[in-house]
């Protein structure tokens, strides 16, 4: 009969200051690197893991493989030149960067955005949320060995990208929200095509629920995995679905209604169990909310009217000295821009607050301890992190 003689809580032994005594020469421990190129990693980052058997004892997150110095680059660019740079910070959802940058500039320069532009921005942000979530489901399912889900949802995401292409001409980077408003209103016949797309995405979501969320392998592996204590939410600065999965209703759209969210009817999806399954379910319900929101918004976007406020010549645009912070709710949580101006034609400092900054570093390092090595990818995906937000 199999007997566990040793008390696992005693391993590894501790120093007086609480740190682990890890001697790699002893043969009891092994150091392995997961990433930066690894199918279970969410982007270019790596985990330096100390394992004993298949259990993780220590974890250190390493980022920097994608550092391009966006914040520094923007300090040397005119405000309008920052625009094509900022979208590259979060590849799967560049629109939140566009909105936050434009909104900080508008607030500091005292520009009021027309009503139609606000509706368009709300629509674009919700479409960005939908396509980003659809890409995420594939990653989460793939981490637990279900490749087919990703194939379905990437197809559905492409349909949403088609609609983006219709509006802005771009599929991934849209650059449709310059400071002052938007570049255009909806093209002719967009409503009908959007409705078709949403119907198809809804059908895919029904299939995903049946195949993924009722799958015994997915349930067995994700229920109870990657628990986030509600007390950690403030300690680690957790926002978005990771906090909502723990039962804490943090949603910038509800808490600080920006653009037209105050006029829309929606509920924030919440979970109670705070494990990987709950977070996945919160995101699935978020997708359904987003589909409903897009239907509401498309009905209310003005068909004509002013969509761009008058802005000065952008090549000679000087903004008075000041500083501000604008936040929005992206798929992963609070996305914010802290912009400081000094009265010149260039920003003095732009700091990007990506939700992954706290989720991928401090939180992941804590959550990885005592995790089974095969579950690391599942936990990473359930935190939904993007390294470029950390490195900027």
């Amino acid at each position: 009969m199999l007997k566990f003689e040793n008390d696992r809580s005693k391993y590894p032994e501790k120093n007086a200051d609480g740190t682990n005594i890890i001697d790699l020469e002893s043969g009891k421990f092994l150091k392995i690197w997961q990433g930066p190129i690894h199918p279970g990693m969410t982007g270019n980052m790596s985990l330096e893991l100390i394992i004993q058997g298949d259990e993780i004892m220590e974890c250190k997150t390493h980022v920097g493989y994608l550092h391009r110095g966006f914040e520094k680059l923007m300090e040397r660019r005119r405000f309008i030149q920052c625009f094509p740079i900022c979208v590259r910070i979060a590849v799967p959802e560049p629109d939140f960067n566009e909105y936050c940058l434009a909104a900080t500039i508008e607030e500091l320069a005292g520009i009021e955005v027309p009503d139609a532009a606000e509706w368009m921005r709300t629509l674009l942000l919700e479409m960005a949320r939908l396509q980003s979530y659809l890409a995420w489901i594939g990653g989460q399912a793939g981490a637990f060995g279900m490749g087919i889900i990703g194939q379905w949802t990437i197809w559905a995401r492409d349909l949403v990208l088609d609609r983006f292409e219709e509006i802005s001409g771009g599929r991934i980077y849209h650059m449709h929200m310059p400071p002052g408003g938007v570049r255009s209103l909806l093209p002719y016949g967009f409503e009908g095509r959007m409705k078709d797309t949403l119907d198809k995405v809804s059908q895919i979501m029904v299939d995903v629920e049946r195949v993924m969320f009722n799958n015994s392998v997915f349930k067995k592996r994700s229920v109870g995995l990657g628990y986030i204590d509600p007390l950690w939410v403030e300690e680690y600065g957790i926002t978005g679905p990771n906090a909502r999965g723990a039962g804490i209703p943090k949603d910038v759209r509800k808490d600080y209604p920006y653009l037209k969210y105050g006029e829309l009817d929606f509920e924030v999806s919440l979970g109670t169990d705070s494990d990987a399954f709950t977070r996945a379910d919160v995101r699935r319900r978020d997708i359904l909310t987003t589909i409903d929101l897009i239907r509401q918004i498309v009905e209310r976007v003005p068909k004509n009217g002013e969509f761009m406020a008058e802005v000065p010549n952008v090549l000679h645009w000087k903004i008075p000295k000041g500083e501000t912070y604008i936040r929005s709710e992206c798929t992963r949580g609070e996305y914010g821009y802290y912009t400081v101006t000094d009265g010149s034609g260039y920003p003095r400092r732009i700091n990007v607050r990506g939700p992954s900054y706290t989720h991928a570093i401090a939180l992941m390092e804590r959550m990885a301890i005592n995790l089974n090595i095969s579950d690391t990818a599942g936990v990473m995906s359930s935190l939904h992190t993007y390294p470029p937000e950390v490195e900027r």
């Binding site: 920097g64 680690y236 600065g237 500083e323 912070y325 802290y338 003095r348 700091n351 401090a362």
Partner: protein
């Protein structure tokens, strides 16, 4: 917010207040009282969510501005606590004991701006720039273009060929 600022003013030195929006205020305090003020805001005024810690380089005045942006989830208001520190002696009291996420911000500030936080966990471990031995790159006096030109160009040993001539040589070595 005005009442809160008045209340804070009785306990801590609050030098400059900017009411940016209804729900966003910036205050400036001095280096000695800053962490005490932030602890007070967290423990007694409900500013429990740390949004960001970042620095702004005011090279002309020889100062770094550290901004601690705090959020009160119940009242739905934000407060930015600004601390001006000397650029030449860029050291600030660590606040890693207040939030678990702070150590990461401080590691980044040390690496990017050279602002040192004594006692902060793993402060000297490389964060984003592993293997970097240059000056802190986010300081205003760090010239990215000059650094790139000095470090990366011209690449020794790089040969260029005129495509037409090169192909002619390869295909017809005899010159026929």
């Amino acid at each position: 917010m005005k009442e809160l600022i008045e209340r804070l003013g009785t306990k801590f030195p609050v030098n400059e207040t900017v009411f940016q929006r209804d729900n966003l205020t910036f205050i400036t305090t001095d280096k000695i009282h800053a962490i005490e003020l932030i602890t007070h805001l967290r423990d007694y005024e409900g500013f429990s969510h740390l949004v960001i810690i970042t620095a702004v380089d005011w090279i002309e005045e020889g100062l770094f501005q550290l901004t601690y942006l705090l959020n009160n989830p119940k009242l739905k208001v934000d407060m930015g606590v600004r601390v001006m520190i000397d650029r030449k002696e860029a050291t600030m009291t660590s606040s890693h004991h207040l939030w678990a996420a702070v150590a990461t911000y401080q590691r980044e500030l040390y690496e990017m701006f050279g602002i040192f936080f004594p006692g902060s966990p793993r402060i000297k471990e490389p964060f984003i720039l592993e293997g970097w031995d240059g000056p802190p790159p986010y300081r205003r006096d760090f010239d990215t273009k000059k650094y790139a030109e000095d470090t990366y160009f011209p690449r020794p040993g790089r040969e260029t060929h005129d495509p037409a001539e090169h192909m002619k040589e390869k295909m017809y070595p005899e010159g026929s």
